[in-house]
Symmetry: C2
Subunit: 279 residues, 2 copies
């Protein structure tokens, strides 16, 4: 009974269970996709990014904290087990460059790179302009009652503007800006892995422009981390303010670029992605 | 003599000479850094990005055109020869995922990934909002007479706003926005490789905030391509309008995100990078 309680304790939050990996030695990790973070087909891209980062965070040779992470979605990740092969391509005095690849059935399904680094005292800007918006307490949490994908239920989202279209009748919303407050559901203290996952939170910009669901999938995401473990710990279970804009949308691909601040006004991450779409 | 003329013809522009690579087979290419694109230490990061992309463009197995490119500057590239090892990690029906690594003396100095793809007719936005700015003809070209690095002389830049500080007395310019018109010098018809190089054109945002030169270096750049060879060909030797903004700047790292349009208003690329700095 005691063992069972301990297991529940250590894997109490679905996010921790989802990113759990087993080190097989030599930088090779194994894991499994999590039904709690299932998307329409395969897992939510953000949970895959978090798994990638978690492999590097767990690597015994790791130096410093995450600075940059690029994850390329080379193929749909199938529900089930996967292997993560990591390699420290270069270790300098204060930075470390990683490459990684997820394989299923011996085939690459994810490729990526990451930069880790030791931060130091320098001249800098403490805070970075954050939009002045309604506080989360004054906004309604988006209902996921009718959501067709499970991973949405793992996030509490309170849209400030540019929320999901209320009808899917094909009207162009005329812009591609979304602002929302977001945190894990149930709440969970923020760390680098969950910040990586949240960096993929923004719904597809094409939905705002078309008010129509079209087949699509992220092909590449890059996240820059502008924070450290201490600031993440201070953020705790608080909300993050996310802002995202699209730039291009044509001939099968669109992009977006976003920022994530904590409630205290610290810019924690900037995130960019390019997405494939049909029709 | 005829051979010599032909050589001059094929390597007439310093950019073409700088990105020339030799395929050794099996996706391994060799090249050399170019004094024409020398930075303070080693080569301009944009020319390295162009060399990486050129290796993939030249690869016999290449499918489609560039969609995304991430280049990680793992170590200072030394002046002299380098080897580029490329690998098609995954080839799908309409997308292809590449990894690459530059080595010098058997050590990784650059790591990266790229996505190529076939574009298709879809619903889309033809044009994307471009800032309304003074035309290049009405702006003075920046003088590089006193420039300490050679690569700047390979680009004609006409700053619209947020130009380089006129004095280096430590004043905070209070913003981190720059807009400029840019093209190769001498002019050269735009292609994917030169667009990749120009994606690194923006001078460090910390210079705007500090009006002071501090030691720094890009650690990672990601470029998304929103265009095709036909649009690049139509752009020809025309100017590109570049806009860039910084978001974060603290404890040793800052970022920026930018866009590049052609004069006809087509958004050709979005570009993001994170930069290490000291002091």
């Amino acid at each position: 009974m005691q063992d069972r309680r301990e297991e529940e304790g250590s894997a109490g939050h679905p996010f921790d269970a989802a990113i759990a990996l087993h080190h097989q030695g030599a930088g090779v990790f194994t894991g499994e996709t999590s039904p709690a973070y299932a998307n329409m087909v395969g897992p939510y891209g953000g949970i895959t990014a978090a798994q990638a980062l978690n492999a590097l965070l767990a690597h015994p040779d790791r130096l410093g904290e995450p600075i940059a992470l690029t994850v390329n979605y080379a193929a749909a990740v199938a529900d089930g087990p996967f292997t993560v092969i990591t390699r420290a391509a270069r270790t300098n005095r204060s930075t470390q460059h990683w490459t990684f690849e997820f394989q299923q059935d011996g085939q690459a399904v994810i490729t990526g790179t990451a930069v880790f680094g030791l931060r130091r005292d320098t001249w800098g800007l403490d805070k970075h302009p954050m939009p002045s918006v309604t506080s989360p307490a004054e906004l309604r949490a988006q209902s996921w009652e009718r959501a067709k994908v499970e991973w949405l239920r793992r996030y509490e989202m309170r849209f400030v503007e540019g929320g999901m279209p209320r009808s899917w009748q094909g009207e162009d919303q005329g812009h591609s800006l979304t602002r929302l407050w977001v945190r894990d559901a149930p709440p969970r203290p923020l760390d680098f892995a969950s910040l990586a996952a949240i960096s993929d939170i923004f719904f597809p910009r094409i939905w705002l422009r078309r008010s129509r669901i079209v087949p699509l999938g992220t092909v590449s995401i890059t996240v820059y981390f502008h924070t450290e473990a201490a600031t993440l710990a201070a953020t705790g279970e608080g909300y993050l303010l996310g802002e995202v804009r699209g730039h291009a949308l044509s001939r099968g691909y669109f992009d977006h670029a976003g920022q994530l601040w904590n409630e205290a006004g610290h810019l924690l991450a900037t995130t960019h992605q390019i997405v494939y779409y049909k029709e």
